[in-house]
């Protein structure tokens, strides 16, 4: 299968001699081009951060700059002065991410382990059952009707968690990784009289920590960054996740600008908007920088994203 091929290619990454030190012309050129590309990639983020720290009046006069004009933290103090909505959304996103990642990882790996077992009688049929969901899906409309009418989950926090719990792609990656565990250890456990559940939790899971860590990071990302489920199913602003709150703010910004609030204070729309974005992607970016090596390896292993 394609997955395995990619996994093999990924394993080639670590073994590489790092002995070459002399610079060649081609390397200088590669550095130059890559520097340019990466700088261009970073511009949008730098711009947004810069605007969030800029002075509102000078922004209106001079436009957005890559360096803050008239450094000011007013946007942040403004947002944090009335923090109910943003704190609420942070809380929702945090809860959903925690719950989804914990439960999702457990259920997915419990599904993946039997699929990795050659002696499991239902292996073939269940593998197909999981895999087929990658090929064909009912689309948005039946999904929407199912959740709203038949499951009655509209404006329920569970709707932000349940649909993503089992993702076929994650299950298949986990299966491939479980299948590579050395059979001797499992045989030894079996001879020692270990049951299936005990074998999974005490041997398989601890031995698969890297794969489980990778997949849990995928889960974290998926839940943290999700706006789709809220877009379809959440109307109650008490249940807005962070990303959806940002979308609503973006949509309402014109409205807010044309209705100066009664507080008598100038609304820092431009900088506050960008400050909100920074507050939303900041934690994700931080996590990414912290756990980057797992991400990079995990994605190389995961290969094709679903």
């Amino acid at each position: 299968m394609g997955v395995e091929l990619l996994q093999k290619t990924a394993q080639a990454v670590p073994d590489r001699d790092r002995t070459r030190t002399r610079w060649e012309g081609s390397q200088v050129m590669a550095h130059a081009i890559l520097l340019l590309i990466t700088l261009v990639c970073l511009i949008p983020m730098v711009l947004v951060i810069s605007v969030s720290f800029s002075d509102e009046v000078r922004i209106a006069k001079e436009g957005y700059k890559l360096f803050p004009v008239g450094f000011s933290t007013f946007a942040y103090t403004y947002i944090l002065k009335q923090p109910q909505q943003i704190l609420q959304s942070y809380g929702i996103t945090f809860l959903v991410t925690l719950l989804g990642t914990g439960v999702g990882l457990t259920i997915s790996s419990l599904l993946a382990w039997p699929l990795a077992r050659r002696d499991f009688k239902l292996r073939g049929i269940l593998s197909f059952y999981v895999f087929f969901t990658l090929l064909f899906n009912g689309g948005m409309v039946p999904f929407y009707i199912l959740v709203t009418r038949y499951l009655g989950l509209k404006d329920n926090i569970l709707v932000l968690v349940l649909p993503y719990l089992v993702t076929a792609w994650f299950v298949l990656i986990l299966r491939t990784s479980f299948a590579q565990l050395p059979g001797e250890i499992l045989d030894a456990a079996r001879i020692d009289g270990s049951g299936e559940w005990r074998m999974f939790f005490q041997i398989v899971a601890p031995l698969s920590k890297p794969a489980l860590a990778t997949i849990s990071l995928f889960y974290v990302l998926r839940y943290w960054n999700d706006w789709f489920l809220a877009l379809l199913f959440i109307d109650d602003s008490g249940l807005y996740p962070l990303q959806y709150l940002l979308y609503v703010l973006m949509r309402n910004i014109q409205f807010m600008a044309s209705n100066p609030q009664t507080t008598g204070m100038p609304i820092p729309t431009q900088s506050a908007r960008m400050a909100m974005a920074v507050l939303a992607f900041g934690p994700a970016l931080f996590t990414f920088l912290l756990l980057q090596k797992y991400f990079v390896r995990g994605i190389a292993v995961g290969g094709l994203k679903g």
Binding site: G2, T9, V13, R16, R20, T21, Q27, A30, H31, I33, I37, T38, C41, L42, P44, V48, G63, Y64, I107, S108, L110, L111, F120, K121, L122, L126, Y129, T133, L135, F136, G138, V141, P142, Y144, I145, L146, R149, L162, L165, V166, A168, G195, E196, W197, L221, N225, W227, L231, Q243, L246, R251, A280, F281, A284, L285, Q292, V296, A300, G303, L304
Partner: protein, 346 residues
């Protein structure tokens, strides 16, 4: 046959469970599954095997159930494309209308527009992203041993972790008509100010660049892994034969990467009927003026469903996407199989 057996063995399901108060309960030798119906035992094999198979089935069951609800039920629900769906009646009791919804959908200009945009934009994405990722992977390979490569990887990768909602803020910071950065750039270069959010002509380029920006780290990493997997002896041999850097790329790296490139491109072609909803929905900010170039099947389905409440139209477009999309995947996979069975998805 198995059903007959099942019926015959039902009573064993209800065989009395050992009384836990029975004083011999713990000391008496236990059969592994005193209440297991015979037909299950027969299916799973000998008792030891049966026990482990049953445990494994139990482990898999929560996942199987969730997939059933959230993946398989909607597949069945796809029939509403042939119904006049009414919320009070539900899927089963709504009236069949045959191809009415499809007639309505394909009678509009929208059907052609969303099909064209979806296919065209995805084709653009595939070409540009593949070329861009390959280029970056080749460059990264040159400097792989350098300490800077870590920085490059981080900088290229971070967009992958940013949601499209936030990217829409990024893009707005660049393009908005009053204060955006691009306004200044365009003015400095001496051109007339462009109202980006009113000019549909620019959006294929903007969206392609956004897609490239988002996927470059991911795509280049996969190709880099492929390049690093090539045996160094081959490059050595090429060098001895007098091949320069470009010749090595052309005659060693690229030919050995072809299988990987072909798989990834074919997989992308398999998904060519599915557009990235977030990208097309948030970046143009759902602006009607831009629909001419930015409206794709997914955004159309969403709009018909949620904003217009036209479930029949949405369902017909969704059915069209699901089935043609499925055909594309199967076709793409069939082609891969013809090339090399090992690389195929199924």
């Amino acid at each position: 046959m198995i059903f007959v057996e099942a019926l015959a063995s039902v009573p064993t399901c209800f065989a009395p469970i050992e009384d836990p108060l029975d004083s011999h309960f713990l000391t008496r030798p236990q059969r592994p599954f005193p209440v297991m119906p015979r037909f299950i035992a027969r299916f799973f094999g000998s008792s030891r095997e049966a026990q482990s198979n049953l445990s494994l089935s139990l482990m898999a069951s929560p996942g199987v159930l969730l997939l059933f609800v959230f993946a398989y039920l909607p597949m069945v629900g796809i029939v509403i494309a042939f119904k006049d769906y009414r919320f009070d009646a539900g899927i089963l009791d709504s009236a069949w209308v045959g191809l009415e919804n499809f007639k309505f959908l394909f009678g509009t200009d929208a059907a052609w527009r969303i099909t064209r945009n979806t296919l065209l934009m995805n084709t653009l994405f595939i070409i540009v992203s593949t070329a861009g990722s390959l280029l970056v992977a080749l460059l990264m390979n040159e400097v792989y041993t350098s300490r800077m490569s870590k920085y490059y990887q981080t900088a290229l990768f971070f967009p992958y972790f940013i949601s499209w909602v936030i990217v829409s803020y990024f893009l707005f910071a660049l393009l908005n008509g009053n204060t955006g950065l691009m306004k200044k750039v365009v003015e400095t270069l001496g051109f007339e100010t462009i109202r980006w959010y009113r000019a549909p002509g620019y959006w294929p380029v903007i969206l392609t660049l956004a897609h490239l920006w988002n996927g470059l780290g991911f795509g280049s990493l996969i190709y880099l892994a492929g390049i690093l997997g090539i045996s160094p002896e081959l490059f050595e041999a090429a060098r001895i034969d007098g091949a320069g850097k470009l010749a090595q790329i052309r005659f060693v790296t690229l030919p050995l990467l072809y299988p990987l490139i072909i798989i990834l491109v074919l997989l992308a072609i398999g998904r060519i009927f599915h557009a990235d909803f977030g990208l097309f929905f948030f970046l143009p900010r759902d602006t009607p003026v831009l629909y001419r170039t930015t409206d794709v099947i997914d955004t159309f389905v969403y709009r018909s469903l949620v904003e217009l409440g036209d479930i029949g139209m949405a369902a017909a477009a969704g059915f069209y996407q699901s089935t043609v999309g499925f055909g594309m995947v199967v076709l793409a996979n069939w082609i891969v199989r013809r090339i090399n069975v090992d690389y195929s998805l199924f």
